[in-house]
Symmetry: C2
Subunit: 391 residues, 2 copies
C-alpha cells in the first residue's frame, strides 16, 4: 500500500510514458498495424501523446509509418503505424514428448524462422534437450541475424511458474529439474517456463479462437492430456504458481491405473493411447497414422467406433464446464483431428448434462484453429510479456 495521503501522489511522468508505450506496443503486437487515430481512440490517449510515443518508437526503429495501400474515404490518408518484427525478437520453444519445436518470433507475432527435431529416448533427457535447445537457438539466431530478448518454454508437465522449476513431466520422464535456471544460464536470456496447456490457452486467447473471451478453458491431447484456464481474463494459477492438471480429473473411478497414483484419469481415457485403442490400433501407433485414420472417419456416422471415446471426452468436459463456468472450451492438438460429427456429438452431450452450460446460455466448444502450433505460439507470447514493457 502506497503513501497515498501524504502529498506526493500518482504516477511520475516517466512511468506514465513507459506505461503508454507498453500499451501502444501491446496493441500493435496483438492486433497489428493501425493508424494513429485508431490508437488514440482505443487507448484513450490524446493525439499529442500518441505522436510523442510513436515518434519515439520510430526513432529507435521499433515501428515505421507508411501510407496504407488501400485508401478508404476521401481526404488526406492517415499514416499506418507498423510494428517492425526484427526490432524485438523472442525465442519460443515447445518441448513435446516426440519432438522439440523452436521459433524466433518478431514483434507483431510474425514467425521469422523455425526449427525442430525429433526426440528419442536417449535424446529426451533434460541435459540433452537443454544443450540442443541452446545450440539450435544460437544457430537459428545467427542464420536469421536476430538477437532474441527473451525466451518462453512450453513443457508438458507440472511446472512452478515462479522460477520455471519442473516438478514432474511424466511423459518426458523428467522430475525435479531446474529448467528455468539452467536454460537461462546457457541461453543468457531471461527465460520463462510454463505448462504446455497453459501456453495453449494463452495462444488461443491472444491469437486464436478465444480472442475477446475472458473465460476459457483450453484442453489438448498429445501423449498426455492437459488443460489451461483463463478466468476473468487472467490465467488461473494455484498455490506456489502451479496450474491445475485437468488431465488428471477422475472420470472413471477404478479404471486404468495412471502413473500419477490415481485410476481412470481423463488422460488415460482420452489421451493418444486411448484414441489408438478406440481406433483398434496399437497404443504406440505413430501420430501421422492416427491422424490419417481419424481423417478417414471424417464423415463417419454416430454411433461409430469413437462412441465410447466421445462419452469419456464429454464426461470430463461436463466436470470442467460445471467447475469453471467458461464461455468457451477450445479443444487443441490431437483433438483437432477428431471427425466433426464426433465433436458435434460431444457438444450435444455436454450441453444436455451440464447445468452450468445451460445457465450461461450454452458453453461453446470449438476446435483450435492454431492446432499443433498453439503451444509454440503461446510460448512466444509468454516471452513477449516482459519484453513489451522494456522495449
Amino acid at each position: 500500500m502506497g503513501e497515498h495521503g501524504s502529498g506526493s501522489s500518482g504516477a511520475r511522468p516517466d512511468e506514465a510514458r513507459r506505461h503508454n508505450r507498453a500499451a501502444l506496443l501491446r496493441r500493435l503486437h496483438v492486433d497489428g498495424p493501425c493508424t494513429r487515430a485508431v490508437l488514440a481512440a482505443e487507448l484513450g490517449l490524446n493525439r499529442s501523446t500518441i505522436k510523442a510515443v510513436v515518434d519515439g518508437l520510430a526513432e529507435s526503429g521499433v515501428v515505421t509509418e507508411a501510407v496504407p495501400a488501400r485508401r478508404t474515404g476521401a481526404g488526406r490518408p492517415s499514416l499506418m503505424v507498423l510494428p517492425q518484427p526484427e526490432s524485438a525478437v523472442v525465442l519460443a520453444v515447445d518441448v513435446r514428448v516426440e519432438q522439440v519445436a523452436m521459433s524466433m518470433v518478431g514483434l507483431g507475432g510474425q514467425v521469422i524462422g523455425r526449427h525442430s527435431w525429433n526426440l528419442r529416448r536417449s535424446t529426451r533427457t533434460p541435459g540433452e534437450v537443454i544443450t540442443h535447445v541452446a545450440e539450435s537457438a544460437q544457430l537459428l539466431a545467427e542464420e536469421l541475424a536476430v538477437t532474441p530478448s527473451g525466451a518462453g518454454i512450453s513443457v508438458p508437465g507440472v511446472v512452478r511458474r515462479d522460477d520455471g522449476w519442473v516438478h514432474e513431466a511424466p511423459n518426458l520422464e523428467w522430475r525435479d529439474i531446474a529448467l528455468g535456471a539452467r536454460l537461462a544460464a546457457v541461453l543468457r536470456l531471461p527465460v520463462q517456463v510454463a505448462n504446455d496447456a497453459e501456453m495453449g490457452a494463452l495462444a488461443e486467447h491472444v491469437r486464436g479462437v478465444a480472442r475477446e473471451v475472458a473465460d476459457l478453458v483450453y484442453i489438448s491431447a498429445d501423449k498426455g492430456v492437459g488443460g489451461g484456464v483463463i478466468s476473468s481474463g487472467r490465467p488461473l494459477r494455484g498455490t506456489r504458481g502451479y496450474v491445475g492438471e485437468l488431465g488428471h480429473l477422475v472420470v472413471r473411478p477404478g479404471g486404468r491405473p495412471c502413473y500419477c497414483g490415481s485410476r481412470g484419469c481423463w488422460e488415460t481415457e482420452v489421451g493418444e493411447a486411448a484414441l489408438c485403442r478406440a481406433l483398434g490400433m496399437p497404443e504406440d501407433t505413430p501420430r501421422g497414422v492416427v491422424v490419417a485414420e481419424l481423417r478417414s472417419l471424417e464423415t463417419a456416422p454416430v454411433p461409430g467406433p469413437l462412441d465410447e471415446f466421445a462419452e469419456w471426452l464429454a464426461t470430463g468436459l461436463v466436470t470442467v464446464v460445471n467447475m469453471m463456468a467458461p464461455e468457451l472450451v477450445v479443444l487443441g492438438d490431437l483433438f483437432t483431428a477428431l471427425p466433426p460429427g464426433v465433436v458435434g456429438h460431444v457438444r450435444t452431450l455436454v450441453h444436455e448434462r451440464s447445468l452450468v452450460s445451460r445457465a450461461v446460455g450454452g458453453t461453446r466448444i470449438e476446435t483450435s484453429p492454431l492446432g499443433r502450433d498453439a503451444k509454440l505460439v503461446g510460448a512466444a507470447e509468454l516471452a513477449f510479456e516482459p519484453v513489451l514493457g522494456a522495449v
Copy 2:
C-alpha cells in the same frame, strides 16, 4: 485506460483520503482493534495520515480510542483504535433448504442479533421467503435499534452475481427469480446475492481457517453439495458472473441420475441423502438424527460403514485438487460432522492419488471451524464490501 501522458496524473487528494479510510476500516473490521502505530506500519502510511483518518472516523462515531486493558512494555500506553459495531451494520441472510437464518452484523464482524425460521414446502416459495425476510429484517432492526446499510444473501443455487438473478436453486425448487431486485425493492437497501458455497469460501478466507491463504476451495454438503473457490486471493467466477458448481462434477459415470441432467454427480454421491444411505437411514432423516449418528461413530475404525462414502468424497477431491491446485481445502457444513478418522482417511487417499497435491507439497484438507454459520458469515462480509468503502 486513463489519460496518463497528458499532464494531470494520479489520484486526487479526496480519492486518496477515501482510499486510506477504507483500507483502515477494512483492517479494523477484519483483524480487530489495534494501535495507531500498528495501523501505520501495516498500511504503510505515516502517523500524521493515520491521525487524520482516525480523528475523522472518531468524530463521526465509527471508531473510539481507549487505553488497552493490559499494558505491554514501559512508557506511555499506545491508544487502541476500536471499531464501533453499531456505526455500520449489515443484514446477512442464509437461505437454506430447511431454514432461513438471518443476522445483523456490526463493523468488526460482531453479530448484534439473529433470527431464524424453518421452511416447509408451502413457505419455501420465493414470494413467501422474500416477504418473511423483509418482515423479519424490519422487526430485528427495530428490536436492536440499528439501521442496516446493505444486505448480503446466500442462496444454494446457480446465481448470476452481476444482478442477483437466481437461474436455478434446485433444492429450493426455484428457477429464474430476480431475487436481488425483488429483495432490494422490499428491503430498500443495496442487496447482493451470491451462491452459498462462494459465501462459505469468503467466510473461511476472512474469518475462518483460510485467513492468509490465497488459494483455497471450500466444499460443503447440505441437501446439495457446493463449492467456492478463491484463487490468487480473488473469488473464481466464470462467464457472466456465474460461479462453478462443484457439486456437479461427475464422479461416477452412469451412476444415479441427478436432477441436473447428468448422472453420478458428486452431489448424488456425497450429499445429505447419500450420507443417510451410507448410514443405513432413510434419505429424508432429519439433520439432527444424522449428525447424532455421525457423532456416535466418532471413534469408528476404518474400514467402517462410511468407507464407500469416503471413497466418493476422495474421488471428487482428487479432481478438485488436480484442477485448482489449492493450498487448502475446507470441508464445511454437514461434512464437519464426519468422524475425524474418516476425514483423515480421505486426506490420505487424496494425497496418494493427486499429483498436484504432491507437487505443491501436500494440499491441506481441514474441516470448517465456522461450521453451519459459514454462509451467514460470508453473506455479512459480502454486504460489508461496498459499505466499508462508503462509511
